[in-house]
Amino acid sequence: MSGTMTYHFSVILVTFGLLLSFITYAMTWIKRSLCLPFAVLSIGFLSYCSFSLFILVIERGPFEYYLGGWPPPIGIAYYIDELNAFLSLLVYLVALINLLCNRERFLEKQGDRIGGTMALYILFITGLNGILLTADLFNLYVLLEIASLTGYALLAIGDKRQAPFASLNYVFLGTIGACFYLLGVGYLYIKTGSLNMQDVSRLITQIPKSPTILSGFIFILIGIWIKMGLFPFHIWLPRAYTNTFGPISSLIAPLGTKVMAYVIFRVILFVFGKEFSFEIYSLGHVATLFGVAAILYGAITALRQTDLRRMLCFVVITEIGYIVAGLGVGNINAIRGSLLHLLNDVAMTFCLFLSADHLIVNTGTKIEELKGVFQKTPFGSSIYVLASLSVIGIPPSPGFFGKWYLLQGSLEAQNFWVFGAILLSSLLNTVLFFRTFEEGYYHHTESPSYGPKKTSLSAYGGILASGLLVVLMGLLAHPIVGHIVDPFLLRARLP
């Protein structure tokens, strides 16, 4: 495909994503069994587009894409750089692997409504992808709502008693978050009259101390923090992710919060700018405070959980804490660590939820029900162990590299709160995960018929692929930092 065509992939990812999701639903009218294969093909196609876009960005550097050829501030622009192209690729990969891995389970659970489920599935990732690529503040809001609304609906699949109620709670909080964001954008618009990120950022520097801008800043920040589940705005998260259908949790848990975390970086570094956020509004202290609180709260509360997936939700909260704390420390190594951790965390959390889901299917949702699961399904368990070790931060897993940069950055800034919190939470996570390992590992039985539930080859393949993704992210940590994270930081004018 020619180079110019590839540029158009930036918008094709979103428009075709929307289109394909409706076609997927329309497949129901022809033949219901076509929906799922068509969804797989669609996501495959979108992954391909995303991949070529990523290659293009790596080869030729970041570029802006004007929708309909209208340059900003009149038109909507998409901005594609190494970081969001890579993240978008990760989103599609995770969605693809997750769908392939859980094909049978989707059919089993949502057989008669598979068309709608698949349409939501594609819409969700399309929304996330749009959030990543867009350079327009209002466009971001719309795509955020697309991702959120489909997310609410997807999360309601699952345990009939719990899931809809948990999801409705999420609707309330999610809407407040999104509205706060919108409100913040409104304030920025009052002052600047623009919605394009670059344009706004240029105009803001001329009026640095305006209280209107400050209000916008605060509203946007709180709005996104609610959406990304940062402590103490996390209340919706554990319940929504715990009670939902397993394959949905392994889709939304790794992607939803991380994409919102990316938005934080985008907004702070590219709209408000580093000097503005850190020096004038002293974001550093606030983010450090929230980040450290989230790390400690997540790590400690996770220890008290009896439900495996709920425990993992608190691990997610801890990880979000790392990302925000790194942002709070604010020097180059800490932010590098935050961003690297963000990328790695997509792979890690995905692998963790996917393999944990496999264990849950084989045993039960409670941690104490895991007894003997290592013997029952050695393969799934070993991938679970791999992902857990990565979360703990055992080298050379990806989790280690993110933590290393975070620790180094906080040490350079002499921010011992963050330093101590990260070390402590690593230790607590060790205890946490080894508790589950103990349940799974001890309790040996000799009966030979003690095997896993019938699991298809594609399910094993998916779990393996998620494990490989984690391993790869670990081995490629240095190139990822060099080619993806660092250019982003350079453009953000961090030294």
Binding site: L389, I392, G393, I394, P395, P396, F401, W404, L407, Q408, L411, E412, F419, L423, S426, L427, T430, V431, F434, E438, Y441, Y442, H443, H444, E446, L475, A477, H478
Partner: protein
């Protein structure tokens, strides 16, 4: 000194890892154990193939990846690493043979898992031996901790669970909580962590953060079991005996001692430690460990626990030797790393052989067994003499060098510690062996010698313990090479 860029060190590390899929996928025990032995022999051959070049003063190195700017994942074979690799890879073969006898004799479960994790543990031990910088060492160190966990808790019962917990809390807790921050601090300060004989930390020992970093590293490598971070080692004795033998006499504990020696000689070095207060602290704790460990060993009723406490005491010899920072001290410390391995593995294999043959674990139960199991106890006696340090056993050489070293250093008290410890060693080993051969009451029969697979490896290591006294050539040569590097560089 020239450096040879070669992939060979990586192969040494990978070869047992490559054997893992074969071990897991093979259904037939005979074939499975053939793979283990084959990998062991290949590994030893590869290590040996590097010996002539390293003896002539060159070193092998191989870059695998870049982890952080200026911090590659790199392997480098130097004399000290080669000594450790030689000992560990040779003893792996011996222990594998022994494992076959032991595991089959006791009809243990999950033997495939056992051999697989053993292979992984060995791979990471080789990685530790050949690590070219602190981070590479740390990575393999962590893998070693994790891969030995299923081995320690092999029985999967309540006792194993408690011990496994202790094992992990001590090893992972210290490595994450102490080593990692210290390492990051050093990297931040010096932009690299490459080992250099003599240390990369500049001279001037008064610097407070660096002193703390040094202590964090020495205590953080808790595999060396310096008190008060020692209690995982006796707990880990719930493992099957071959595991105790190889891991808790050779691979794991020596990996800890090796890491500490690397820290002392290759990270901080004489220049820094000379005037620091970290060094007296290390010497103090190591001396205390030597004495207390030996004293506690006196009161142990269980044979394996006794050996564990003896190991704790003996490991601190190595730390003492390195921290003395004198020529003979360092030589003695590194010799001890090799000599103690041979002596102690003989003792552990003996303990295992007794358990396989008679099911007895306690010291009191050994009375008179020497009559019916002369070979086992003969080998056991040789091992004990080597640990005590009586010629003509290899252990004597190490102790001799250490004593010489303590004469050279300003800390004469260490000599007293070493001598006192030797006396204590005599006190807990000799009565044991004596009563085995000369029981105070007549013993009933029915007990036979241990199975051949157990007996032969043990006799082999006992023989080597004696041979090493007469022919310490490769080790001594390597150590001299190491020392001349310091003088040359």
């Amino acid at each position: 000194m020239n450096e040879i860029y070669s992939i060979r060190p990586l192969w040494v590390v990978l070869i047992s890892l490559c054997a893992v899929p074969l071990i897991i996928s093979t259904k037939r025990p005979n074939l499975r154990e053939t793979w283990t032995i084959l990998a062991g022999v290949l590994k030893l051959a590869l290590v040996l193939s590097m010996l002539p070049d390293v003896l002539s003063g060159s070193s092998f190195s191989f870059n695998i990846l870049t982890l952080f700017p200026g911090l590659p994942f790199r392997l480098r074979v130097d004399p000290m690493g080669l000594i450790f690799a030689l000992v560990a890879s040779f003893l792996w073969i011996v222990t594998s043979l022994y494992s076959i006898g032991y595991m089959r004799g006791l009809k243990e479960h999950s033997q495939s898992r056992y051999y697989a994790f053993f292979a992984i543990a060995l791979s990471s031990t080789m990685g530790i031996a050949f690590a070219a910088n602190l981070l590479t060492l740390y990575i393999f160190y962590e893998i070693l901790s994790l891969s030995t966990f299923p081995l320690v808790t092999h029985h999967q019962d309540q006792e194993a669970k408690a011990s496994g917990r202790k094992y992990l809390v001590y090893l992972l807790g210290t490595s994450i909580g102490l080593v990692l921050p210290s390492m990051i601090y050093l990297y931040m300060r010096f932009n690299g962590l490459d080992f250099r004989f003599g240390g990369f930390v500049p001279a001037g020992g008064a610097n407070l953060p660096l002193n703390i970093a040094c202590l964090l590293l020495v205590f953080g490598f808790a595999k060396v079991a310096i008190m008060p971070l020692h209690s995982w080692l006796p707990a880990a004795m719930v493992a099957p005996t071959p595991v105790s033998a190889l891991l808790h006499a050779v691979a794991v504990v020596k990996a800890g001692a090796f890491s500490v020696v690397r820290t002392i000689l290759f990270v901080f070095g004489e220049g820094f430690l000379e005037g620091s207060w970290a060094r007296p602290t290390i010497l103090f704790f190591a001396s205390a460990t030597v004495l207390i460990g030996s004293l506690v060993a006196l009161y142990q009723r269980e044979l394996k626990r006794l050996l564990a406490f003896s190991t704790i005491a003996q490991l601190s010899y190595i730390v003492l030797g390195a921290a003395m920072l004198t020529e003979h001290g360092v030589k003695g410390g590194i010799l001890q790393l090799a000599m103690h391995a041979f002596g102690k593995i003989t003792l552990f294999l003996g303990a295992g052989a007794i358990f396989v043959a008679t099911g007895k674990k306690l010291v009191d139960q050994l009375e008179g067994l020497g009559r019916t199991m002369p070979f086992t106890f003969g080998a056991f006696f040789v091992g004990a003499l080597s640990i005590i340090g009586i010629p003509p056993m290899g252990g004597f050489l190490a102790k001799w060098e250490l004593l010489l070293g303590s004469c050279q250093s300003q800390y004469m008290g260490i000599m007293g510690v070493l001598l006192a410890s030797s006396l204590l060693n005599v006190a807990y080993f000799i009565p044991l062996v004596y009563r085995a051969f000369f029981p105070s009451f007549p013993v009933e029969g029915k007990i036979r010698e241990a199975p051949l697979f157990c007996l032969l490896p043990m006799l082999a290591t006992a023989l080597f313990t004696i041979l090493l006294f007469f022919f310490p050539y490769p080790f001594a040569q390597l150590i001299s090479g190491l020392w001349s590097q310091l003088l040359g560089g």
